[in-house]
């Protein structure tokens, strides 16, 4: 076990723990703060994989913008910061059982996996940002998924605006 594996293990534990806290804590602001911890943990994983650009983007976009937006939205829209409802419903033992079964299945699957000989090439010292940019606009690589992603975002935007603004339009008429 080398250093990067130890760092990976600790980060993974941190991610799982904070993700659990996001859904178990009753205070909404705390949940948003735990979410930031989760997202920062993912940043560490990107850095471990030497995807430097993605790590920076992860911090700027997810931690910097989205999580902060969450906190603002919670503070501006909710008077009560605590969620008083029950946290479990009747079906939870069954759900827990199925989750455990899936976990066991995946564990068995990965345990039996032959160790791959093909290790990914190290990215150290390479211009990953340039390669990423090229790949996104090259017709031989990812230009189509890139364009489709913008169509997807446009549709999501239209849907979100419709859902959010519909009430207002109705009262204007």
């Amino acid at each position: 076990m080398d250093a990067s594996q130890i760092i990976f293990g600790l980060t993974a534990l941190l991610i799982i723990f904070s993700a659990l806290r996001v859904v178990t804590t009753r205070n909404m602001v705390h949940a948003a703060l735990w979410l930031i911890v989760t997202l920062l943990g993912v940043t560490v994983l990107y850095a471990l994989l030497q995807a430097n650009f993605l790590a920076v983007v992860q911090v700027v976009v997810y931690v910097g913008a989205i999580a902060i937006l969450f906190i603002f939205a919670i503070m501006l829209t909710r008077r009560e910061m605590r969620d008083g409802g029950p946290q479990l419903n009747k079906g939870w033992p069954l759900a827990a059982l199925i989750s455990l079964a899936v976990f066991g299945g995946l564990l068995a699957l990965l345990y039996n996996a032959p160790v791959s000989e093909r290790l990914a090439a190290s990215l150290e010292g390479q211009d990953t940002l340039g390669a990423l940019g090229q790949a996104l606009v090259s017709p031989d690589a990812y230009v189509l998924p890139f364009e489709v992603a913008s169509v997807l975002l446009l549709a999501a935007l239209i849907g979100a605006v419709y859902v959010a603004l519909n009430k207002k339009q109705e009262s204007d008429k």
Binding site: G105, L106, A108, L109, N112, A113, P114, S116, R118, A120, S138, P139, D140, A141, Y142, V143, L144, P145, V148, A149, V151, L152, L154, A155, A156, I158, G159, V161, Y162, V163, N166, K167, E170
Partner: protein
């Protein structure tokens, strides 16, 4: 770095045109005011019909080939499915035109077109990245459409339930994709062959994601509630085009990526087909609401179609495509009738259909055609479709599966005929039905007439359609 060429443009011609049409719809949504906006439906339906004609004329694929660096396959299989989706979008746009709060909203039509665009990409995607994006491009507009009637709690519930189930299964699917990539080091569907040690486990994960799309048991729980709550034309679109897109992916993924594990996944899918048919049909027996009945019937039909996938032969794939064409026409008609009736009578209960044959003989006759075709009676399209699927199963040695299918068709016949009994034999008590006509607006009359004739035509003259389906099926072998 290679440049773009005309084949690439032709391969995504329907998608480009759909996007242009969607933007046009949004533009006219701003320009047109008030009642004029109803014409957005004509624009959507007419534009989509034009796209279908243009692609039929100039967008035909030749020899199957990979375009965009292997992101898409440009072949007859994708082409056939794209025509199916375009047809579904045309009919759905027409049915949407007279639903209150839906018809004068450009967003609804734009979302419908985006979902169709996503489906077209699903049908031709040959790379995991492309495939996942296409699936999301299809799903997200459909979540909004299912919950489009924001004032109606049931519609909001429908949209939300669809969203939760969709997000969950899409996460599982993505996990399967990521493992697939992790084990093989490639995202291209064509290069998995022979390099996959853990196929069965991964097949399970992928089946979860696609099982949701095609509403196979046990991933069907969203279907009845979503169909019941969402606007009826949207429910029709979900149960036909969206399901066909799921089958397009299922066929391409399993037959091009895992052909060497055909025994394993065919066994998994055979069990799934049996459970899906049986549960769908048995639960349909007890339904009192027409949309819930159609939801369970659509689950059962997913089971029949899976039989064709299990066969995994040329005939099997051709029968799946033919079944999907017949089923699309039939089920769109059924949901269209439910939409027309629900709009006029204000009820979706089966009991309220009593006396329909006198209130609107035309609508009742369309219902007779659609339900008999769903039940698989000759001379309608549904009969040929079922025969083909069962033949494919017997031909490849899945005799027991064909027997299960036949038994299930008989159960299905019972509840379809029960609805027709209410329509034709029951009367409205103490009322003169002729005083309660069901008015049919022009878009409904046009769409229902065309669909009913089409159901009859593909049932009688099935050879040209079957030939096209066989041609498309060849691309997978």
């Amino acid at each position: 770095m290679t440049a773009y060429n005309s084949t690439m443009i032709l391969a995504i011609l329907p998608e480009i045109l759909l996007l242009v049409l969607g933007v046009l719809v949004l533009l006219f949504d701003v320009v047109w005011k008030g009642e004029k906006r109803r014409a957005l439906g004509w624009l959507t339906a007419g534009g989509t019909a034009l796209i279908s004609i243009v692609t039929l004329l100039i967008g035909r694929p030749g020899e199957p080939q990979s375009v965009f660096g292997g992101m898409l396959r440009f072949d007859w299989l994708g082409f056939a499915f794209k025509q199916i989706f375009l047809l579904g979008a045309i009919a759905t746009a027409l049915f949407m035109m007279d639903i209150e709060k839906l018809s004068r909203r450009g967003q609804a039509y734009a979302l419908l077109l985006t979902a169709t665009l996503g489906m077209s990409l699903m049908a031709s995607a040959a790379d995991l990245v492309m495939l996942y994006l296409a699936i999301e491009t299809t799903s997200i507009p459909l979540y909004v459409l299912a919950g489009f009637l924001l004032d109606d709690d049931r519609s909001a519930e429908a949209g939300f339930k669809y969203l939760l189930f969709g997000a969950m299964t899409s996460a599982v699917l993505l996990y399967g994709f990521s493992l697939l990539y992790g084990f093989t080091g490639t995202t291209s569907l064509t290069s998995f062959v022979g390099s996959l040690p853990l196929a069965l486990g991964l097949v399970f994960l992928i089946v979860v994601g696609l099982g949701f799309k095609i509403s196979a048991v046990p991933f069907h729980f969203w279907a009845p509630d979503t169909y019941e709550g969402s606007p009826t034309p949207v429910a029709g679109f979900l149960s036909t085009a969206s399901k066909a897109a799921g089958f397009a992916v299922l066929l391409r993924l399993f037959l091009t990526a895992f052909p060497q594990f055909v025994e394993q996944w065919a066994a998994v899918l055979a069990v799934l087909a049996t459970v899906t048919m049986t549960v769908g049909n048995l639960l349909a027996l007890a339904q009192k609401n027409i949309k819930r009945l159609l939801a369970y019937s659509s689950i059962a039909h997913a089971g029949y179609i899976l039989i064709g996938v299990v066969a995994a032969s040329k005939l099997g794939v051709a029968s799946v495509i033919f079944y999907l064409i017949a089923y699309l026409l039939t089920n769109l008609a059924a949901f269209g009738i439910a939409a027309a009736f629900g709009r006029a009578a204000g009820s979706d209960e089966i009991a309220s259909y009593a006396g329909l044959s006198r209130r609107s003989p035309g609508l009742a006759f369309a219902m007779l055609v659609a339900f008999l075709s769903l039940a698989g009676m000759p001379p309608f399209g549904g009969f040929i479709a079922k025969v083909l699927v069962f033949t494919a199963a017997v031909e490849t040695g899945w005799v027991w599966l064909a027997v299960v299918g036949v038994v299930n068709s008989i159960i299905g016949l019972y509840y379809y005929l029960t609805v027709l009994k209410v329509v034709y034999l029951y009367r409205m008590e103490g009322e003169n039905e002729e005083q309660y006509p069901i008015p049919l607006t022009r878009p409904y009359a046009l769409a229902l007439t065309t669909l009913s004739i089409a159901i009859l035509v593909i049932g009688v003259l099935f050879a040209p359609w079957f030939d096209s389906a066989s041609l498309a099926a060849l691309n997978l072998f």
